[in-house]
Symmetry: C2
């Protein structure tokens, strides 16, 4: 496997992302289905929240001026229901009242119908004001805001029951390789054949990042059939191929991308994942978006290399298409239980198992050994400039999701 050149991961990603235009198509959904979606409209509140003054404490609503000088040694007597009104946290403060005395500063007087007020309050004390949370006319969310559970509650609170969001990008997933048989093939498969599982793996991550996987059939190692399937998938918003991306005699995918558009990158400083290729193809007859090109990612067929290249390039591409934020990783800050090696010039994903605050490297290498990932709970990512890490080094381990 000799690549003419090897592009650094950050540069390769930058080149790819510069070519990707975020999705423009929109749809309207009920807010209960809008969690984890991206707003395609600005949301302005038509109402005040709260729309009335609320008691911030349990106690008695009063006219503040009538409590002047009140103290435990000098309580004021107010008529219950006339000069003061019992209120609970969150309940409306009557229009004629302007403050709340906390319940612990009051005593129902022995003479019926009266309340002893044992603390003086200023106007607005313990009163939540109208619009304290949201004023009518406030722009509550910008267009492009990624909606979380708390945001959905806010939408409900201001009386909005459905919102316009960007559609989720459709991502065609094309497994290639003459050695592949469909995953469902049971119970025995011909020796020399391999069950195709990269497609489903890629699809599950695509879904997780906000895309809609569109699963395509296996394509054998034939340049014409690969080109044909890529063209047939141009109604999607992105295409991910698995396999056939290296520089061997049967690696036809990068060539197919080149002939249908442009190959931006082939060969990256990523380990595992070196043979990945990134490109754009021209789209003919594709409707709905302004762009005339769509991204095509050619990932290695070996499952670990496929996964790592997907995490680096697939995630970035789909998040940009979907207008989703790049969330920070789930991190465990621990010490390395043993030395790990890496090659200078490669961003290296080492699989580790973190237990008891120590990251133990999983001592299998090889881009084809999927059990090295399934037996791990984290990645230690080693920068290009480094030649491995030492036992005892403090590392940020990325939780494998």
């Amino acid at each position: 496997m000799v690549f003419k050149k090897r592009t650094r991961v950050d540069l390769a990603k930058k080149i790819l992302l510069e070519h990707i235009s975020p999705i423009e198509r929109r749809e309207r959904v009920p807010i209960k289905d809008a969690n984890n979606r991206v707003l395609a409209e600005e949301i302005v509140s038509a109402i005040d929240v709260p729309d009335h003054r609320r008691a911030a404490m349990d106690g008695y609503a009063v006219r503040a001026e009538e409590t002047t000088g009140a103290s435990p040694s000098n309580p004021m007597l107010l008529r219950d229901g006339i000069d003061c009104v019992r209120v609970h946290t969150g309940s409306p403060v009557p229009d004629e009242m302007d403050a709340v005395v906390m319940i612990e500063d009051t005593i129902p007087a022995e003479s019926g119908g009266m309340v002893e007020i044992r603390s003086a309050v200023h106007p607005n004390k313990h009163v939540s004001m109208v619009g304290e949370d949201v004023y009518h006319g406030d722009a509550v969310f910008e267009c492009g805001h990624h909606l979380r559970g708390c945001d959905i509650a806010m939408l409900g609170m201001i009386g909005i029951s459905n919102v316009q969001v960007y559609v989720r990008p459709r991502v065609a997933i094309i497994p290639t390789g003459s050695e592949l048989v469909p995953m469902q093939s049971e119970p025995e498969i011909e020796t020399g054949k391999i069950r195709e599982t990269n497609g489903l793996m890629v699809g599950l991550y695509v879904k997780k990042w906000g895309g809609i996987p569109v699963y395509k059939d296996i394509v054998i190692d034939d340049p014409d059939l690969i080109e044909k399937e890529i063209r047939a998938s141009a109604d999607c918003d992105a295409i991910i191929l698995c396999g056939g991306t290296s520089v061997g005699a049967r690696d036809y995918v990068p060539g197919a991308i080149e002939s249908l558009g442009s190959l931006l990158v082939h060969g990256v400083g990523l380990s595992p994942g070196k043979p990945a290729a990134l490109g754009m193809i021209d789209t003919i007859g594709k409707t709905g978006d302004e762009t005339g090109a769509l991204p095509v990612l050619s990932l290695p067929g070996y499952p670990v290399a496929c996964l790592i290249a997907l995490l680096e390039f697939g995630r970035a591409a789909i998040l940009k298409l979907a207008r989703m934020p790049l969330m920070p990783d789930r991190l465990m800050r621990v010490r390395l239980g043993a030395k790990i090696a890496s090659k200078i010039g490669y961003l290296t994903y080492t699989r580790v198992h973190v237990t008891g605050g120590v990251a133990h490297p999983v001592m299998t290498s090889g881009a084809g050994i999927l059990s090295s990932v399934t037996g791990s709970n984290g990645f230690v990512v080693i920068r290009e400039e480094l030649e491995g890490l030492d036992e005892g080094d403090e590392v940020d381990v990325i939780w494998i999701e």
Copy 2:
């Protein structure tokens, strides 16, 4: 709001979790639907992966002994198709061959049908062995393993098409409060009323953590009706109530829990979120699980307090029930753009907006101001022992999902 005692968050959580038994009910699902589920069976591979020796490089499969002494200056000539066979990365190595010479170390000889071998190889060089990834009989996943995308690919690879997983816990969500109206109420609501949105918010997070939300109707502040609804929800695996949890005259939920089982904690050192209560109720006529009690969480009605108490107690409870791992948080390590205050004795959630590597505190307080969360992208969590943090302090900001 005066609590007789205030339990530390870590202790309160420990008490709650000690009372919770993980779910025992199981179901069988196709592997494509098993992502993010928890295995309820051990998975043992019935096959070897790979089930044949594979070429690890493009080149020629050879008998290693026939390459002894080969070099660029002393090439060996082998008969193509007889003494050596062209192989591609991943393709089977013929039975009679035991090594692969890389393509760059070979030249098709000028005399037809012959190949120049310019490098000596040892037996097994560039050959992936049978079972290199998984041996038949290997326990690939333990019972209780949380399935990720890469794990699903592994299941497919070893020929498994469906798996037994634990069912997702059903979580009843009961909003309480006489001031509440259903969220769908449009377009105008009576002054003094509030749209109920905590229920949906809680439900969206419950779903995210692996539970199934079971939405119940609003219950007014009436102790009998609250008890009745809790009893009616005892067919679920957990119950979360929102509102009515403080110590005011209309806070009936903790009392209802007490009368139906036991109130473990009422009042916690959490800000916002102090009034939260945690308990267990006895279940009568509930089937399927060994435990005779189910957890009941009483969360504050103010939306920010509700959310924070949910993140602290709801998440832990649901993950334990569902047997899901407690994943590390998504973290941003940044500097604090301004001083923030906190009260000693309270685990304090401060809302911040992180931009350009700096966390800017959102300068609104109050457990009722939901816009303080929706306008933020992170929480700075301040430990009980501290009295705030200073401008410039390095902090781990938790990304709000």
